[in-house]
């Protein structure tokens, strides 16, 4: 990463998009830095694709402006923007060979023939399509089509490459492999990537930063770790990974901690007071399954939060074991433990009385 990169390479200000009465994108402000691999994450219909199409120039925002590299591009049509897109369907032109597909963008820019040939060679090398350049699209596998789409979008050296669900059409094995390839190519070329995806795992591994969207609004923007460990809203906490939540009311506040009275936990839960809360405030305590310990004996550390329960169900996944634990209140929570020891026996069985515990630091406090 070079240190002179522009932190506001893409600047989105107050962008909204309405289709009739339907608000697809709702007043979005967002800055994306040069050279970032930025993901927009959300469920279907959350407006992420519309936002991407606004960046590409296929949709004009109803209100707001979009700047790329200091230039206001809001009124510039797609074909004049320094931006290229890789479509979810890949949109490979079925009546052109691989080579023709890739060269299309340069041909439209009236680049000299020799120049085009040179660029095509280079980009074909980059995506390792050498053996397929004369083929027709219907002779390609899903992975190869993805590479053609990528090469075709990269050949114009766009300032920004937009990728709409770049891996959704591939099977699981290929997806993992391609993920790392995409990251390598991005690193090598230094082009800013904006990826739209519904797959949180994909977003976590690929991205330098993630924006979570729901109902047209940006809920949280941050590095993968921030989003996962410090979600700001219940939607984000729920959408990224799995989480256990306890609704309650702040009962006491001391120097560092808050005590939250949660009926479903059968008592007070301890958390750090990061939001300057007062007694009586309604909050939600959330805790990730892997942050919870499970034990037969009561945990010794008094600082820890401890709750009694019974094992309702358990599943062995190889690297992990998953437990569904029924607390005394009747609430069922999810706990995951790494299987550190090699053993064919289970340490904890069905219907066993156990304790779950976690550090106060692991409690996420969600306000509203």
């Amino acid at each position: 990463m070079n240190s002179t990169r522009n932190p506001c390479f893409i600047r989105i200000r107050g962008v909204s998009k309405l289709f009739g009465d339907f608000v697809a994108v709702d007043n979005v402000d967002l800055d994306i830095a040069q050279g970032e691999l930025f993901s927009i994450l959300g469920g279907s219909g959350c407006g992420k694709t519309t936002l991407l199409r606004i960046l590409a120039g296929f949709e004009k925002p109803t209100t707001g402006r979009v700047e790329i590299d200091g230039v206001d591009v809001t009124d510039i049509p797609a074909y004049d923007r320094p931006v290229n897109m890789m479509f979810q369907s890949y949109a490979i032109f079925p009546h052109m060979s691989v080579e023709k597909n890739i060269a299309y963008g340069l041909r439209k820019d009236k680049v000299a023939r020799a120049e085009i040939a040179k660029w095509v060679d280079e980009v074909i090398e980059l995506v390792q399509l050498g053996d397929f350049r004369k083929r027709n699209p219907e002779q390609l596998s899903g992975g190869q089509r993805q590479r053609v789409a990528l090469a075709r979008a990269l050949i114009k050296r766009p300032k920004v490459l937009l990728l709409d669900e770049p891996l959704a059409a591939l099977d699981k094995k290929l997806r993992e492999h391609t993920q790392f390839e995409l990251m390598n190519i991005q690193h090598e070329l230094g082009i800013t990537f904006v990826v739209v995806t519904h797959d949180q795992e994909e977003a976590m591994t690929l991205s330098t930063r993630i924006a979570v969207m729901d109902k047209g609004r940006l809920l949280q923007v941050g590095e993968p770790k921030e989003i996962y460990e410090y979600p700001e809203t219940r939607f984000v906490a729920d959408f990224i990974g799995t989480i256990n939540t306890f609704d309650g009311q702040v009962s006491a506040v001391d120097e560092q901690h808050i005590h939250v009275d949660c009926e479903t936990a059968g008592g007070d839960l301890l958390a750090f007071n990061e939001h300057e809360l007062k007694p009586g405030d309604k909050v939600c305590i959330a805790v990730r399954p892997e942050k919870i310990f499970i034990s037969r004996e009561p945990p010794e550390n008094n600082e820890d939060i401890r709750v009694k329960g019974t094992v309702d169900d358990l599943g062995y996944l190889g690297n992990l074991s998953l437990y569904r634990v029924r607390l005394e209140s009747g609430k069922v929570i999810l706990v995951s433990q790494q299987n550190r020891q090699r053993s064919a026996k289970r340490s904890i069985e069905w219907e066993e009385q156990i304790w779950v515990s976690w550090r106060p630091r692991s409690s996420i406090v969600l306000v509203n």
Binding site: N84, M85, F87, A91, H95, G105
Partner: protein, 297 residues
């Protein structure tokens, strides 16, 4: 058990044989007969053509009818005129039908089904009555002339009905839906991302149309053109009702040759020639459909 299997087999044979025999008898055999009569000589008898085998049992056929078709300029001109008329109507249908099909394919799903219904609807109304409707529009004191005179554009009614232009209008009008439907089918299943992708790569709206939409609609264009051209070539009703007395198109010449001149062998030869003329477009159409079906799977 054996009898059950036999019963199944019987059903199988009936299903295979009935339509097969029907087509052999009522479709293929009549074509053989046309061919046979086209090689006979017209005689004054009932039926008015010479038998294929004469009294002594020797084969008696003649190519005179075909020779006559080639020697008489009238027939050459008739064929040429039919081709030109059908081609003009085809081009006009394409120019009009493509934007219409495009507009329907790109409209909202709800309006789309209504627009399609309105394209299909004339199909179900009698062809003859639809052609007839134009007589009322184009006549010397028809709707169009009355309107023009009311506007003061013309003093005297213009002669539109019973001209070649009226035939051309009638052909375009009657066969326009045949152009729109196959075009719509190809345009509707086209991936719109392709056009976006082209524009993303620097093609303007117009360039993207010629680079992507047009070549991908090729199958629909070919199907539509053939579906208009082929029936327009053999059209009888439209030249008869809308064209002048000298509007000699093949369909009409065939009919006249048969009923007015009662020259059955010559009429048969005209039909064979028409069929030969249509072999090329029919083969193009069949190949196109086969390729299209292959690509769809």
């Amino acid at each position: 058990m054996a009898s059950l299997i036999q019963k199944d087999r019987l059903w199988w044979h009936i299903t295979v044989l009935v339509p097969y025999l029907w087509l052999l008898l009522f479709f293929l055999l009549p074509f053989g007969i046309i061919l046979k009569i086209s090689l006979a000589e017209p005689i004054l008898a009932q039926p008015p053509f010479s038998p294929t085998f004469d009294d002594t049992g020797t084969l008696s056929i003649t190519a005179d009818n075909f020779a006559f078709l080639f020697s008489d300029k009238l027939y050459a001109l008739t064929y040429l005129k039919s081709v030109i008329m059908a081609a003009a109507a085809t081009i006009c249908c394409l120019l009009l039908g493509f934007p219409i099909a495009y507009g329907i394919a790109r409209s909202q799903p709800r309006t789309r089904s209504l627009l399609l219904l309105l394209i299909v609807l004339p199909f179900w109304i009698s062809f003859l009555l639809r052609v007839y409707a134009w007589m009322g529009l184009l006549g010397n004191y028809g709707v169009i002339n009355n309107f023009l005179m009311w506007l003061g554009i013309t003093e005297q009614p213009m002669q539109i009905l019973y001209t070649d232009f009226a035939i051309f209008l009638g052909l375009t009008y009657s066969y326009l839906p045949f152009m729109i439907l196959p075009l719509y089918a190809t345009l509707e299943r086209m991936d719109l991302d392709l056009v976006d992708a082209a524009m993303d790569l620097g093609a303007s709206r117009t360039t993207a149309f010629w680079d992507i939409t047009w070549p991908l609609a090729r199958a629909g264009v070919i199907a539509g053109c053939m579906l208009v051209f082929i029936p327009a070539m053999g059209e009888y009703v439209i030249p008869f009702l809308l064209g002048g007395p000298d509007a000699l198109l093949i369909g009409r010449v065939l009919f006249d040759e048969f009923y007015v001149n009662r020259d059955w062998p010559l009429a048969s030869a005209v039909a064979i020639m028409l069929l030969l003329l249509l072999v090329v477009p029919i083969v193009i159409l069949q190949k196109n459909q086969a390729r299209d079906a292959e690509q769809a799977t």
